[in-house]
Amino acid sequence: METTLHEQDFEKGSRELVRYDNAIVKMFAVAALGWGIIGFLVGLIVAIKLYVPEFLGGIDVLSYGRLRPLHTNAVIFAFAGNAIFVGVYYSLQRLCKARMFSDLLSKIHFWGWQTIIVSAALTLPLGITTSKEYAELEWPIDLAITLVWVVFGWNMIGTIMRRKERHMYVAIWFYLATFLTVALLHVVNSLALPVHLLKSYSMYAGVQDALVQWWYGHNAVAFFLTTPFLGIMYYFIPKASGRPVFSYRLSIVHFWALIFLYIWAGPHHLLYTALPDWAQSLGAVFSVMLIAPSWGGMVNGLLTLRGAWDKVRVDPVLKFFVVGITAYGMSTFEGPMMSLKNINALTHYTDYIIAHVHLGALLWNGGLTFAMLYYIIPRIYRTKLYSVSLANWHFWLMTLGVVIYVIPMYWGGITQALMWKQFLPDNTLQYNNFLETVTQLIPMYVMRSIGGTLYLIGACVGVWNLYKTAKSGSLLADEEVYVVNQMRVQAVPSTAHKEYWHRVLEGKPLRFSLYTIAAVLIGGVVEFIPTALVESNIPTIATVTPYTPLELEGRDIYIREGCYTCHSQMIRPFRSETARYGDYSKPGEFVYDRPFQWGSKRTGPDLHREGGKRPNAWHWKHMENPRSTSPNSIMPAYPWLYTTMLDTKHTEGKILTLQKLGVPYPEGFAGRAVADLREQAKQVAAGVEEGGIRGVQPEQEIVALIAYLQRLGTDIKKTAPSTSMK
């Protein structure tokens, strides 16, 4: 019937010539592959650093704390980001039967995004970071991201508005939700007040900052690493298998349920922390409910292959899809499970989380990306895949690499958590020395890097195969096709029947977008507004005072070096934690923390009660050579903190900025800040020398860092308001 209609339409003159832009698809594909290899390589380097701490050691720009954010940003925004744009630019044009809205916007989007990535690759190793996970980039880059993202959305919505197809296929809804929600998340989470071009302080402090950050962090996973890839799944699986999606009804339910529920689940990253209990519970409940739409989507993807499983045996594209979607199912089962407070108590802060995210990132995002590229590249180059055999090698290297990666990490995570919690009959911790629980994991860390190496080799094989494929053909930069402009075709019998509500919605992309935003906003608003209202009323602790200028500078060094990537500052209210670290963390202790430094992983011990535990000289020796104070420690040394003198050029500006944000420094204090800093530095340096160290200069950066560490968690131990701010 459809064919007949098309013939009629062609005759009626509604046939139009469309030129799909494949050149932009190719550009994003090359970028995704190039950045992917770099991102995986940096991941491998940081993995090796965990058992050979001095590997590439002594070089500040290559230290673990600075490279780890580079790794996460590279794989999320450079690899997966460019892959999303490959999928969107290829499928959107074909789903809308229209060329991208503007070639100029496509180019601005491409080059803008690559410039942002290069800026990230330059600033993160230099320690220019906000320390908010997956949102580490400083404010000028954040502004650039906003602009480029708007260009992307403009180009996408423009294409949808000009479409020649009445129906907006399900993949497009996922793309739209991605654009709208990521814009919202990015803007809200990045709000900050600049001190200068490369430094800013978060608009939020402590508990609020944590809530906003994990609302962002969780939904970056949802709307950057999930929804666009679901769109890719809904387009490419039917195309590659030649079968329509298993249930289109289910895909509609999947879409609305997923975007409605996902946004609420952020607080599951903050269970047992100082976040209000009701918000934690809400996050946990919605996380458990999320399993329904997630698995609905997974089932819908896999069952699309009903009757086409014979193709899965021979077609690498489908193999990558099947493993990717299966990993999605596993990850989205784990997620809700880890949101249960009893399981979270065991898995949080451990390598279990590392296994969980890599299962998702390497197989779901990585697998789908390569599946899509194996599908697209031969088509736009008008050739065959260079080698199916190499693609199969890639498939097995990827799959086995991930297995060898995640199993030791799951095992290691649970092992360490159990060791943390193990008590002796006399009520003391069996593994009182945190390091014992770390050295136990070294073999697992080695296994992990072997798995990662296999994955990287597989990716290189994939890149080679795709390169050879491209070389064997020639790029069809402008693919000319004839399409029927359905928007011009008069109502014909097959489309004349009563339109259903969703179809009406799809006909109006802007209204569709508004409903999507509404669905997304409800969760955010319900969780955030009460917490924001609590702001001025977070149980105030009278003895908690703002950081001194030296401590503030020390804290900024702590942030610059990425200490939060291995050390948390959040003692949960468990016996095993209070026995190890001291009193559990209270919300009121973080009111001057911009940004918060709770961390998400304990490769080293928690530092929230570090202040006053050890003499200054211990910290001096520890940072100079961690193994001198803690045998077998896997922490790297920080020699540059001893040779670099503290830059106080911006100290005054930092105090002024914090004052604007509401930190109660006395009036006129900014002008005295540097003098106050020097005075305290002398005292700290003298404290170091008391421990037998000679030649300590108060100007050394390490002195500021020690001042900060010695302040941590000490305020609530004071009996009277601090006098250090005089």
């Binding site: 469309v18 296929y169 329509p244 409605f260 088509r379 050739t383 259903y500 209202l533 609590v534 009323n537």
Partner: protein
Amino acid sequence: MYKNILSSIPGIELYPILALVLFFGFFSALIYWFFVVDKQRMTTLSAGILEEDMPATSSHLHHPIEGE
């Protein structure tokens, strides 16, 4: 301890009820729709993307897999 702050919001007692009504209302409607929607139409919509565009030139090759 948060009760003091929350109780100062006018009409706060209606919020959870409203959230519950919205939530269940939305999903009940979605489930109802799931069962009553015209399945034939759904099939047509999902099959739409499988139609290949008609190439304007004859130089297209679509053989991505050896031996396909």
